[in-house]
């Protein structure tokens, strides 16, 4: 279903608490959708600013994901690396409406031609 600004990518119960799912973008970059312990949902590009590790496979705790490759901790809120590491991964606006996950079309399609 395509609406003007937001794309419906599925029901929120498809996301495990403290887990993540992936959202490939044809012609663009894969997105990781995260869910925290209390049900908040966040989206980042699925690549660590360090060595492009798939953040979707990391351990989620509080509002942080720890990259599975080298344990960088990335804020789900800002995409910034935490602690002594420096780097930032783009965030994509995401919201829940009526139990569905909606992702911002413009940011999700960044880098897609046309």
């Amino acid at each position: 279903m395509v609406t003007a600004d937001w794309l419906d990518i599925g029901p929120v119960d498809q996301l495990p608490a403290l887990g993540a799912r992936t959202l490939p973008v044809q012609g663009g970059e894969e997105i990781a959708i995260f869910r925290t312990a209390n049900g908040s949902v966040y989206a980042l590009l699925n690549k660590c600013p360090h060595k492009q590790g798939p953040l979707s496979q990391g351990i989620v705790h509080d509002t942080t994901v720890t990259c599975p490759l080298h344990n960088w901790r990335i804020s789900l809120v800002t995409g910034e690396a935490l602690g002594d590491d420096v780097g930032c991964v783009p965030t994509i606006p995401v919201k829940i409406d009526g139990g569905r996950i909606l992702i911002a079309r413009k940011e999700a399609l960044q880098g897609v031609d046309g």
């Binding site: 279903m1 395509v2 794309l7 419906d8 990518i9 599925g10 029901p11 119960d13 498809q14 996301l15 495990p16 608490a17 403290l18 887990g19 799912r21 992936t22 959202l23 490939p24 973008v25 044809q26 012609g27 663009g28 997105i31 959708i33 925290t36 312990a37 209390n38 049900g39 908040s40 699925n46 060595k51 492009q52 590790g53 798939p54 496979q57 990391g58 351990i59 989620v60 705790h61 509080d62 509002t63 720890t66 599975p68 490759l69 344990n71 901790r73 804020s75 809120v77 800002t78 910034e80 996950i101 999700a108 399609l109 897609v112 046309g114």
Partner: protein, 826 residues
């Protein structure tokens, strides 16, 4: 038309005789009792009552009379005409009239819509069966009470505020209650995971069954409700089903009348709708994009509405809400935003003995949220600080201990001076009843560290919530000599306890879930970190092999995915080859799988296995199914687990071989595969002292000699090369298996998570290991027995489970965005 006595005053008609409508009228009368002639329409055939007190009525703690706000005399005394039991069905804004269901039509000068909200009914088959009720008004309560009189089973759909209150009432009325909640934790809008776990535990203790992540597929029954079926196939018997999944603003009337309606009826800061003569208030409105389902915002809205009507400025600015659960004996408070995030800091206090969990979320020296369980005395204080946006920098250290402590000077005082001021008999540790005098005596007696105090007088050794006080006493007694260094480091920054403390507590206190450990040991974070969660998951599975429930979100990626993640995000797959022996049939299947799933490299590993690189996560269940079909199972090359048993060909082929090293290797691997351990574990069996299988750098090695088997332990070929130590020599294969199992179990039970055997043995000493495994025959047999017992639960091929569809979501994208569509968003 009703013949009205001539009355020159403008006519105010109120649709809705509930809390919002009547409160608004009260506010108007308080400002100018004579301004309007007032008529109130109510759908329910009764006077105005306090809807939020329906829960105590259901629970039998109050009667309907107790919860009436305004009786019949109030309407009469105030000159209000109440038309109850006759709902308004239409509004004609052009003619300025409303029409009720009975056909009665009344004209208005000002109209106030206070229709509240409607319960949300989930659209499943069977939702209209008799016996399916909502929880909104007194009629619903009467239906529930009638059902409870007959006894039997009740199912409540919805584990939010309303659902839990309904469940509590029905449970007190003698029904066997099951709560179905779609989300992983109860009241997820108000509670974090830790508090929700405490709540769930308490409700279960009271006899309710709580099913989370329970997705209702159907309500079953022919003439009336007989049960509920979940999407996973579970069926639960039910004589009554209460739908309490949520509410929606009741906007149908307003929408038909052409008023601006979003999620609710849109109003300005004085509750005026898009029509200047029509106002709206309460749960049916949307103000500044917000709708409210709680009572507190009503009071502010009604004040602004009344001020607006009498012409004085008092704009409504929205409300910050707080929640309390009305279940007797459960103290629970939640306010503001507790989702955390950038710049937010958590202050957590847990007291396991009293069942208390308090969390205050602070951002830029201001409270932005609070979750309290077990002790809510300070809820209103926190809420007040939150609403006023007060700067709490000065009282930050004392904040979590509450208002009495923070404003009693506890906050500003130097913490060392504060403990110095305590009397000698002041209690420091509530769990173990240790006074300040006893702690000071213990320190004077030589305890120079936290661990020393804990082992000496037990202060802070149980739940740990007094750790800070004990450390301040150490600083007081030792001055600069106390640097806070610990001989044994805490597990991680979430706790003051060491790995050993935590493991002992898990057994002693019978802790079986991660949130239980965090609560019992006063974790300082709400849900741990990526360091402690996997460790706790391991300690729990080791302590309770039969009962342990896996938490995939507390596993590192490789163990969650049962494959090794590579730097490009693809995975490598290693099928098990017992003892490093394979067959042409297996090799064909591996070759076919490598081609079919596009493995970009096939590599022989250091442990004598074949590794297929470049497999996509979506393909994992399929390649596993293919390998399973050829008789192969997971090689656990990804786990903190038994990896491989490397062998040489031994006496069957080799002219130097002394024993059947290959055969023994296969037996060892068949006994040990699947076992989760503190870290990876490698075994090798060499058929003679030439040691072609490199057994002397393995965690457990066997070197066959003419007279039997030399058993070696603690080797490592990694960064720090360490040769094995000789454990002992045995005569038979049976003994080799028993000693191996016992050694592994000792390592499983005593090593810290992420300790290989080499550093563990260096720390505890080889003599300790020999004493337990070699010298103590009974002890060895007990260790071996516990190992085999655990293996009964662990030797299930995880690949076969995944190939059959378990945890399928881990291997599938949630959806895919293509240029003109989103694909696969179910």
């Amino acid at each position: 038309m009703v013949a009205s006595p001539p009355d020159p005053r403008p006519h105010l008609v109120v649709i809705g005789n509930g809390m919002a409508g009547c409160r608004a009228v009260e506010e108007i009368l308080a400002r100018d009792p004579g301004k309007f002639r007032i008529t109130i329409f109510g759908a329910e055939p009764r006077v105005n009552y306090n809807r939020i007190m329906l829960s105590p009525v259901l629970a039998g703690e109050k009667t309907f009379e107790d919860i009436i706000i305004n009786g019949a005399d109030w309407y009469a005394d105030s000159g209000i005409e109440l038309i109850s039991g006759d709902p308004v069905v239409g509004i004609d804004r052009a003619a300025k009239t409303v029409t009720a269901k009975s056909g009665m039509s009344v004209s208005y000068d000002k109209l106030l819509i206070a229709t509240g909200s409607d319960p949300f009914i989930i659209p499943v088959p069977g939702k209209d069966l008799p016996g399916v009720v909502t929880f909104r008004d007194l009629d619903d309560v009467d239906k529930m009470l009638a059902a409870a009189d007959l006894g039997g089973n009740a199912v409540v759909i919805g584990g939010g505020l309303l659902g839990l209150e309904a469940a509590h009432g029905l449970s007190l009325r003698g029904m066997q209650v099951t709560v179905l909640h779609l989300m992983p934790t109860l009241m997820e809008r108000q509670l974090d995971e830790a508090a929700a776990w405490l709540l769930k535990t308490e409700l279960e203790r009271r006899g309710q069954t709580i099913l989370t992540q329970a997705d209702t597929a159907e309500i079953i029954g022919t003439d009336k409700v007989e049960g509920v079926r979940l999407k996973d196939g579970t069926e639960i018997r039910a004589d009554i089903v209460v739908m309490a999944v949520g509410i929606r603003p009741s906007t149908a009337l307003a929408k038909e009348a052409g008023l601006a309606v979003g999620r609710g009826i849109q109003v300005d800061d004085h509750m005026v709708t898009s029509d200047a003569d029509v106002l709206a208030v309460g749960e049916c409105v949307e103000h500044d994009g917000q709708v409210y389902g709680l009572v507190a915002p009503l009071w502010d809205m009604c004040r602004s509405l009344a001020d607006g009507l009498v012409g004085s400025e008092n704009p409504y600015k929205g409300s910050v809400t707080s929640t309390k659960l009305k279940v007797s004996g459960i103290d629970l408070f939640s306010a503001g935003d507790f989702s955390g995030g950038e710049g937010c800091e958590d202050i957590v206090l847990r007291d396991a003995t009293r069942g208390v969990y308090k969390r205050v979320i602070v951002k830029q020296d201001k409270i932005v949220g609070a979750v309290l369980y077990g002790d809510t005395a300070d809820g209103n204080w926190y809420f007040d600080l939150l609403k006023k946006g007060e700067d709490i920098a000065d009282i930050r250290d004392a904040l979590i201990f509450g208002q009495a402590f923070a404003s009693g000077g506890g906050a500003t005082a130097n913490p060392i001076d504060a403990v110095a001021a305590l009397s000698d008999d002041a209690e420091i540790c509530g769990c173990n009843g240790v006074s300040k005098g006893q702690v000071m005596a213990c320190i004077a007696g030589g305890a120079q560290s936290l661990d020393g105090v804990r082992s000496g007088c037990k202060a802070s050794a149980s739940c740990g919530s007094c750790t800070g006080l004990v450390e301040n006493l150490l600083a007081l007694a030792l001055g600069d000599e106390f640097a806070g260094e610990r001989d044994n480091k805490p597990m991680c920054k979430c706790t003051s306890f060491t790995h050993e403390d935590v493991r002992a507590a898990i057994l002693e206190k019978n802790l079986k879930e991660i949130p239980a450990v965090m609560q019992a040991l006063s974790w300082s974070t709400p849900d741990g970190c990526s360091s402690c969660r996997p460790a706790l998951n391991y300690y729990l599975l080791c302590a309770w092999p039969a009962e342990h429930k896996e938490d995939p979100q507390s596993r590192f990626v490789n163990e969650r995915m049962h494959a090794n993640i590579q730097k490009d995000g693809t995975y490598s797959v290693v099928p098990r080859m017992w003892g490093g022996v394979t067959t042409p049939k297996e090799l064909r299947a591996i070759a076919d799988a490598a081609e079919k799933y596009g493995a970009r490299m096939v590599k022989v590993t250091g442990g004598q296995r074949l590794d297929l690189f470049g497999i996509k996560k979506e393909d994992l269940p399929h390649i596993w199914a293919d390998l399973n079909a050829a008789g192969m199972v997971s090689g656990h090359a990804y786990g903190k687990a038994l990896r491989t048993v490397k062998t040489c060909v031994g006496s069957e082929w080799c002219r130097f071989g002394t024993q059947d090293s290959t055969g023994l290797g296969i037996l060892l691997e068949q006994m040990t595969w699947g076992s989760w351990m503190p870290h990876k574990f490698k075994i090798a069996v060499s058929g003679c002292p030439r040691n072609c299988a490199e057994a002397t750098i393995k965690d457990f090695g066997v070197i066959c000699v003419d007279s039997g088997y030399e058993l070696l332990v603690g080797g490592n070929g990694g960064i720090h090369l360490r040769g094995t130590d000789l454990l002992c020599k045995v005569a038979t294969e049976e003994e080799a298996l028993e000693y191996c199992g016992a050694f592994i179990q000792l390592y499983r039970e005593e090593a810290r998570y992420l300790d290989r055997t080499a550093p563990w043995i260096e720390r505890v000493g080889l003599d300790h290991v020999k004493a337990r495994v070699v010298d103590d025959h009974e002890g060895r047999k007990a260790l071996y027995g516990r190992f085999l017992h655990a293996q009964k639960y662990l030797q299930k091929d995880p690949w076969a489970e995944r190939a059959a569809g378990k945890e399928a979501h881990l291997h599938q994208h949630i959806a895919e965005i293509r240029p003109f569509a989103v694909v696969g968003a179910h």
